[in-house]
């Protein structure tokens, strides 16, 4: 047990999960430069801005899904909650409800879904796959029903051109310090939830129930409350994305957010969040969302077909987890070897 003097990097690497987070960022940079070499347009200022903006959606989704995955569960309702958020907010606005109340109502609806998910999984011990499959259908159904089974009209038709403009600029088209607002929204959300997860009691409880729910309960952790918190975070993040999509289109699309829950899983997993719970850093999710977006963007720029994009992303997700499993199994066998010897 020699006490080595730790340099900054050494200290950083000592943090659990930092390794896979940094790996994700390294991958992101490599992919970025590889595509940039192929097509210099990748490096253009406008492309970088677009990249940051489109990455933001995946980052937000990734934050929510990572919270839930760290508790050892999954949230399949994310995409539908995105759709529900888009539709509720856009329906209200296109019917003349001012922006702020519309957003508030949307947020309340999302929190209710989060609490419901948390209750079903934490309190009634439903398998999270089933519980959130149910809420996935229900919330998508709500997304359809709120505006009578059709997409909404332009929000400007309800709240007027000026207010609609402000809404769209705030969430999507506007810039602050030269970068799209969407990115700032995602970044601030990230910082808040990063802080909660790594620096507060609730965050620690989230890791604990994901690692060993029995031990956590015996240590005085309120498992039901903690599960609810994770699902509420997921629902809030989904709603923000729902609002972003509404702002982007200027209207509500019933199918918005389709499959987003899986993008969230992918972002988290690429960044080293364990789908079995108990491990992972939100920083990794940031890297994972980045890897995803840089890939999609790069493949687009070099003119790859959408099908190829999907294949590449699929391979990357499996590779990331495979790497993790191989590393973990490697350390396990060596551990056993030590015991036997």
């Amino acid at each position: 047990m020699d006490k080595k003097k730790k340099t900054g990097i050494g200290k950083l690497l000592e943090i659990k999960g930092m390794g896979s987070s940094l790996t994700a960022f390294a991958g992101l940079i490599v992919i970025y430069f590889v595509f940039g070499m192929i097509d210099h347009k990748v490096f253009s200022a406008q492309n970088n801005l677009n990249l940051l903006r489109s990455m933001s959606k995946y980052l937000l989704i990734g934050i929510g899904q990572s919270y839930v995955m760290i508790t050892g569960n999954i949230d399949l309702s994310i995409g539908s909650v995105v759709g529900m958020g888009t539709m509720i907010s856009a329906t209200l606005m296109s019917h003349g409800v001012p922006t702020l109340p519309a957003i508030l109502v949307t947020a309340v609806a999302a929190v209710v879904v989060g609490i419901l998910n948390g209750f079903l999984v934490g309190k009634f011990k439903l398998p999270p796959f089933i519980a959130t499959l149910g809420t996935m259908f229900v919330t998508r159904g709500i997304a359809f029903i709120v505006n009578g089974n059709r997409n909404t009209d332009n929000v400007a038709s309800g709240i007027g051109k000026e207010a609609a403009d402000r809404f769209q600029k705030f969430f999507y088209y506007g810039k602050t310090f030269g970068v799209y607002n969407t990115f700032w929204i995602a970044l601030i959300t990230f910082i808040i939830f990063f802080f909660i997860l790594s620096k507060t009691r609730s965050g620690r409880h989230i890791y604990a129930i994901g690692s060993n729910v029995d031990a956590a309960r015996l240590s005085g952790v309120d498992v039901v409350k903690t599960t609810i918190k994770a699902y509420v975070v997921s629902a809030i993040c989904s709603t923000i994305v729902g609002l972003i999509l509404a702002a982007q289109a200027g209207m509500g699309n019933m199918d918005a957010g389709n499959m987003y829950e899986m993008y969230g899983v992918a972002a988290g997993v690429i960044g080293g969040v364990s789908p079995l719970g108990g491990a992972g850093l939100l920083l990794g999710t940031f890297g994972g969302a980045g890897v995803w977006q840089v890939l999609e963007n790069g493949l687009n720029m070099i003119g790859a077909q959408i099908g190829l994009q999907r294949i590449v992303i699929g391979v990357i997700v499996v590779m990331a987890v495979l790497l993790d499993v191989v590393i973990r199994n490697g350390s396990r066998t060596s551990g056993l070897g030590k015991k036997a010897g």
Partner: protein, 512 residues
Amino acid sequence: MGNVIVEMEHISKAFSGVQALDDVRLELHEGEVMALLGENGAGKSTLVKILSGVYTRDAGTVRIFGKEYGNLTPNSAREAGVAIIHQELNMCRDLTVCENMFLGREIKGRIALNNAKMEEEAQHYLDELGVDISPRQVVGTLPVSKQQMIEIAKALSIHAKILIMDEPTSALTSKEIEELFRIVRRLKESGCGIIYISHRLEELEHIADSVTIMRDGKFITTGAYKDFTMDTIIEHMVGREIKERFPRVECELGEKVFEVKNLNAGRLVRDINFSLYKGEIVGFAGLMGAGRTETTRAIFGVDPKSSGEILLEGKPIRINSPLDAIRAGIVLAPEDRKKDGLCTKLTIRQNIALPNLDTIGGKSGVLNRAREDELCERAVKELSIKTPSVERDAATLSGGNQQKVVVGKWLVRDSKVVMFDEPTRGIDVGAKVEIYHLMNELKKNGIAVMFVSSELPEVLGIADRIIVMCDGRITGELDARKTTQNEIMRYATMFENKLGKAGSSTEVNDHG
């Protein structure tokens, strides 16, 4: 007595440096029921697992029906005629009796499975045992006793001649036990040899022909059952004295801190009454499944209580969850550290901090890292947890050090009552003594300490007062300085009269 069918000689086996078996021998004859006896951890299970091919031995020879076997595997052991009826039954609950009996060796017709043939055969063996079970019943719907019969029928159907029964009666009622014994006798008549492991010594007179006794991984003695008395058996099982390994500190007995009144929770916690005082350690002794763990869990609010009262410093308190208990100042270091004690994926620091987060963070819930480090450092130092860094995963620690984390995380907060469940299970002697010192430290600080232990020497050496449980009830309360292992064992085997005619454990004078 018939021919020798199993001969095991000079068997040794070590697990990660710990000698589990040391030069053990065993001999089983045709048509014999041999009781294999010893305390928990004496090596009985390891020995039969070697015979059934689950473990490979380090040294020694095994002969079955005169044929010498090298390394047995579960398959080769089965082919040799060895079958083990596990303590926890190994069956697919959702499949039928017949499907379970033929699992992995299904009889096929030309295209599909030949269910008719399998059912017919299953029925044949069930009839042979004289039990009323249909091959088509779903196993999960049957009581445990019937499931056991299916295991036995399955053993017969693969022509097993050597049956190992590990605690077969622990979950059975008296009628079911009689039924089991009837079948054991029938198997015996048909020439099977049976190795019977049980803690319930009073059962032996009903079925045992011979006895083999082990202790601390060593062979102690063997002989015909009729040549032993209950007292000589117990003496052979526990006979050792190692008081020095158990540091005891003397404290003045203080006031009553904690009281449990008429606590009931399920079958294994029945009408429990006891008190804890400042300046003493109370040991809970008993056999496995006596309800000691269940009692601690009920007190701590893990399992629901059906009735009873808990008083802390004279005032009744309500505990419906571990959180209630911790807030009141009552903590539990649980028995199964992998399952209940440790978050193996979290770091050592995070594990130690987990139950203390209320003190580490303020009202805001934001954690104070400096305070957390300080707390963690204190725990690591006081317990001498050996690790290069507290930022390592808890899973990387050795068993003893993991246990120190499980225990240590509770000690950095101010508690009034500390319960330990098997605090030294599976750890080496040095680590054990460190944990004893810790318990003594708590005792000196006026904290009420109780611990559950299946190791009698430890209970005798560390506790001031001993409460003995058997089958969910408190059967005795003894002064640790005056009692003996034999006396504890007698209380620990004081089962309610399930068998009508009981063994030597009936005459008991109340020491409470």
